[in-house]
């Protein structure tokens, strides 16, 4: 660093001619030193230019220069002066370092000045090495005292104390000795003083006192003259300095920087706003949160002008939409909305509000069902954040897998259909090998689900074949562009359904009109159908009555009802049956008039049919109490011969009418008698006997054989009885044995065995009481069974 104070020194010697006693000037030691400088200047040693010529510096004050003692012109002192001025450049070694060679400084100074060297000055010493004992230190002390040209009175030491008076005195004496008469001091004393002086100068306090004023002035001068060099010298440590100061005294540092930071901030915002934004952005959220925590009201006030207006504008739109919907409350759309609200279990107002909030689709993904790979995706452009399709698809698939794993019942095939977050929803529509996931905001209307279903159906129907989706290999190029277009349609028109589907109120109106027409048609039709049903029921009832009437059961009759009139049609063999049919029908539907259009036709008799009919009637008539008859049809004369007994006369008419109504039967002949039919007779036995008496053979068995031969279609059952006197086990054998004996007798008379059934009964016959004689119970009785079997 160049020396700054040479010119002032050289220019001041004019004022320092007047002699003065240096010792008297004390305690103003700097003034004394200044006098010394003036003295040296008088020796014209300072006139020589420095190796590096420094820029002109302001001259220090000159007011004290008159007090400097007159310097004797001496070559030695001239040499020392040059050394002194040069040594300001060299840094002073720390006082505790070992002193090895004090002559190095002298060498440095010699390199600057060509003046003759004294023995002291000639000792070389590398620059920067610790100063050695002796003259080097002396030179240092002189250089320090010579450097500042400001008045020392006004530049106290950092501690605020004046220079040591003793040191100044010693220094002054030393220089006086050197200048005025080297012979005044012995060499050893001189060395001792120099050593003492050196020791004192190595004291930090002393150095501070001596160097501070000059250093500051030098620094100020350098800043003015070469600010870039000062910057270069300081910038490597300026952050350390600031950091250390901030750490030591934060408040002071804050105070020092406070006034500069706003300006710096504004400047940077103007010059490079992005850098400021990037620096501040990460902390903005936390800063706002902290501010809200500390002072919520202030934050509300600050944001209200912005957010309040935004909310107001948004709410105005919502309210406007709500008003429109309320105004249309009694329109067809309003009524429809009320119905939907009832069906959804929400209030009308809730439905209106949910419909007023905007519904948007942020993204749509077509995802492979098992692997979770994204087959195709579309997202809204212009969004700040793009959804991570792969991660979202994977997690959705994992959730679906997890849910399916947790399903308790294996037959439960329910699917995950919706994931509801606070601010958005993920709507899922699942198909066989893929599913659609739509990320939405707002309440999705039902039409959106239909849209998803339609889209998924279209994808599967058009592109699901050929295992394109089932075996999706993760290559997006394999997916047709049309699939993306379908997904985009969801994104851009989430509620626009396929054209063939009814979407608006217009088709709904058509639907209502159609329903009304359907109602207009269906009501009369229903009434007509009800009437027809009633008529049909009446007809069915009439026909059932006709078919259950024995006389009419064989004939096909029909009935219709027209205008409160029952029309009977069909054919009957005679007018009797014709009238009978009308009577039967009239009893069933008394409120209808009977139009009997049944034709009475004469049909040729069928002997087989007539015979079967006679048998059937005979069987029916024998169920009447007191009627025991056998009827035989004679196909030649078309007559029916009735044998047997009829106890009541009224029953005889019934029998007659029954047979005469049989088509083809023209005559009924009775051969009734008081005698019982042979089958009503009984064969009696002696106790424990099974043989038939001759009397019974002649009077009962032979007529029975004749009867059976006359009516070959008859079958009879032979029932053997015993009295109650014998052993029960014995009687169980005896009773059927008696029946078998009679059966064998009948077979012996030519009666076929298959017409005869036997049975044993150890009890008495039904008409024999327990109090009756035992012989009434020892018998075989007969029952007709043949007619019934023949009829079957």
């Amino acid at each position: 660093m160049p020396l700054p104070q040479e010119n002032p020194v050289s220019s001041s010697h004019q004022d320092s001619e007047s002699p003065s006693n240096p010792t008297v000037d004390s305690p103003q030691t700097p003034e004394s030193l200044e006098g010394l400088f003036s003295l040296l200047d008088d020796l014209d040693l300072m006139e020589k230019p420095a190796p590096v010529s420094p820029p002109p510096t302001p001259k220090p004050p000159q007011k004290n220069r008159t007090k400097a003692p007159p310097p004797p012109k001496n070559s030695l002192s001239s040499s020392k002066q040059k050394t002194k001025t040069r040594k300001i450049i060299s840094p002073l070694p720390p006082p505790d370092q070992p002193k090895t060679n004090g002559r190095g400084n002298t060498e440095d100074s010699t390199s600057v000045s060509p003046a003759p060297k004294t023995p002291l000055e000639s000792a070389p010493s590398p620059e920067g090495q610790p100063l050695s004992e002796g003259r080097g230190n002396t030179e240092d002390s002189t250089s320090v005292s010579a450097a500042p040209k400001t008045p020392l009175e006004s530049a106290p030491s950092p501690e605020g104390q004046p220079l040591s008076e003793e040191a100044v005195e010693q220094l002054r004496a030393l220089f006086l000795d050197l200048l005025l008469g080297d012979n005044n001091y012995p060499a050893n004393e001189l060395e001792a003083k120099v050593a003492q002086l050196e020791q004192e100068l190595h004291s930090p306090n002393t150095l501070n006192r001596l160097l501070s004023p000059g250093f500051l002035q030098l620094f100020a001068s350098q800043v003015n003259q070469a600010p870039q060099e000062v910057v270069q010298a300081l910038f490597p440590i300026i952050d350390l300095v600031i950091g250390a100061k901030s750490h030591q005294d934060t408040q002071a540092m804050s105070k020092a920087l406070a006034s500069a930071i706003p300006g710096a901030f504004s400047k940077q915002l103007g010059d490079a706003p992005d850098e400021i934004i990037q620096a501040i952005a990460p902390a903005m959220g936390r800063a706002i949160k902290e501010q809200i925590r500390l002072e919520k009201d202030a934050m509300v006030d600050a944001l209200y002008p912005v957010i309040g207006n935004t909310v107001s504008k948004y709410m105005e739109e919502v309210v406007s939409q709500i008003n429109q919907r309320v105004e249309s409350a009694f329109s067809l759309q309003g009524i429809y909305r009320k119905i939907r609200a009832k069906m959804q279990g929400v209030s009308d107002a809730e439905l209106i509000l949910s419909e007023s909030l905007p519904f948007t689709v942020q993204a749509v993904f077509l995802i492979h069902k098992t692997s979770g790979l994204v087959i195709a995706e579309v997202q809204q452009e212009g969004n700040d954040t793009t959804l991570e399709a792969d991660m979202l698809a994977g997690m959705l698939t994992a959730i679906r897998s997890f849910a399916s794993e947790c399903t308790v019942h294996p037959e439960n095939t329910s699917e995950l259909t919706e994931i509801d977050y606070e601010n958005f929803k993920i709507i899922l529509e699942v198909a066989g090998y893929c599913y659609i996931a739509a990320v939405t905001q707002g309440d999705p209307p039902p039409a959106f689900h239909t849209k998803l279903q339609q889209t998924l159906s279209a994808i599967i129907l058009n592109y699901g074949y050929g295992n394109l989706i089932e075996e999706f290999n993760g290559n997006p190029d394999s997916i047709p562009r049309a699939v993306y277009d379908l997904l985009k349609a969801i994104l851009n028109s989430p509620l626009e359904l396929e054209p063939e589907k009814p979407t608006s109120s217009k088709p709904r109106g058509v639907l209502i009109i159609f329903l009304l027409l359907l109602l207009l048609i269906s009501v009369p039709l229903s009434l007509y159908r009800a009437r027809q049903h009633k008529i049909q029921q009446q007809i069915t009832t009439v026909l059932n009555a006709l078919s259950t009437t024995p006389e009419l059961a064989l004939y096909r009759l029909d009935a219709t009802i027209e205008k409160n009139q029952l029309i009977l049609t069909g054919k009957l063999p005679n007018s009797y049956l014709q009238e009978k049919a009308a009577v039967v029908a009239g009893s069933i539907v008394p409120d209808l008039q009977i139009d009997n259009q049944i034709l009475a036709v004469q049909v040729p008799p069928d002997p087989t049919h007539i015979e079967a009919e006679v048998r059937r009637h005979t069987s029916v008539l024998n169920r009447i109490g007191g009627v025991y008859i056998i009827a035989v049809y004679d196909p030649i004369d078309n007559k029916v011969s009735v044998e047997g007994s009829i106890r009541q006369a009224s029953a005889e008419n019934i029998v007659t009418e029954a047979f005469i109504q049989i088509p083809g039967v023209t005559q009924v002949i009775f051969r009734l008698s008081d005698r019982l039919l042979p089958v009503k007779e009984r064969i009696y036995f002696d106790p424990n006997a099974t043989n038939i008496s001759q009397n019974d053979r002649d009077n009962k068995l032979i007529p029975l054989v004749d009867f059976l031969q006359r009516y070959p279609y008859i079958k009879i059952r032979l029932i053997g009885h015993t009295d109650a006197s014998g052993d029960e086990q014995y009687n169980r054998t005896l009773a059927p044995r008696r029946a078998e004996v009679v059966k064998d007798a009948l077979i012996a008379q030519g009666i076929q065995a298959e017409r005869l059934e036997t049975k044993g009964d150890i009890g008495s016959p039904p008409d024999v009481a327990a109090t009756d004689p035992f012989w009434k119970s020892r018998c075989v009785r007969f029952e007709l069974i043949g007619l019934i079997e023949t009829n079957e």
Partner: protein, 178 residues
């Protein structure tokens, strides 16, 4: 050429280092801290097959399903394995029982997906002497042809981590393009 996505699952007993392998492969990080995986976690990384075949400029996006570790009381959710093109079966080379369970995991995957590729990782080899590792490998054998091989891995040192994932990705791609 479009990036092809493939689903790959990590299965193995609990604590064998499945998550650490993924973290090393995807995030290039490792931590000794053990955090048990609950359910499944999905990670993603794009693998360039050029690392294995210079002439091949195909990129594979691996979607790696980190499935929670299995125990004898808690079997793996089989539905997680559906649709996986390959799996990485991991065992802890310091725990013999995890090595013994490798065969069960392989069979379970083959039963679900007979075409999927399988790579077996003997993890934490940095904690075992090389001689012991060799002995373990000698005692291991897999009859399933889908098994690509047994790899000594260490999520801590990164040994073979990239290699096993890249090899698996390559084999999966090659199977699709045979």
């Amino acid at each position: 050429m479009a990036i092809i996505s493939k689903k790959v699952c990590m299965i193995g007993d609990f604590g064998v280092g499945k998550t650490s392998l993924i973290r090393r492969f995807v995030e290039r990080q490792f931590s000794d801290q053990y955090l048990s995986t609950v359910g499944v976690k999905i990670s993603r990384k794009i693998v360039n097959l050029q690392h294995l075949e210079v002439d091949l400029s195909q990129e594979i996006k691996l979607l790696i399903w980190d499935i929670e570790g299995q125990t004898k009381f808690k079997a793996i959710a089989s539905s997680y394995l559906q649709g996986a093109s390959g799996i990485l079966v991991v065992a802890d080379s310091t725990r013999q029982e995890t090595i013994e369970h490798l065969q069960d995991h392989v069979k379970q995957f083959v039963a679900i997906n007979s075409n999927g590729m399988i790579a077996v990782a003997l993890n934490k080899v940095d904690l075992v002497d090389p001689e012991d590792i060799e002995q373990i490998r000698k005692n291991m054998s897999f009859s399933e042809h889908q098994v690509l091989g047994i790899y000594n891995t260490s999520a801590k040192t990164g040994q073979n981590v990239d290699h096993i994932f890249e090899t698996l990705a390559f084999k999966i791609w090659r199977q699709d393009n045979r």
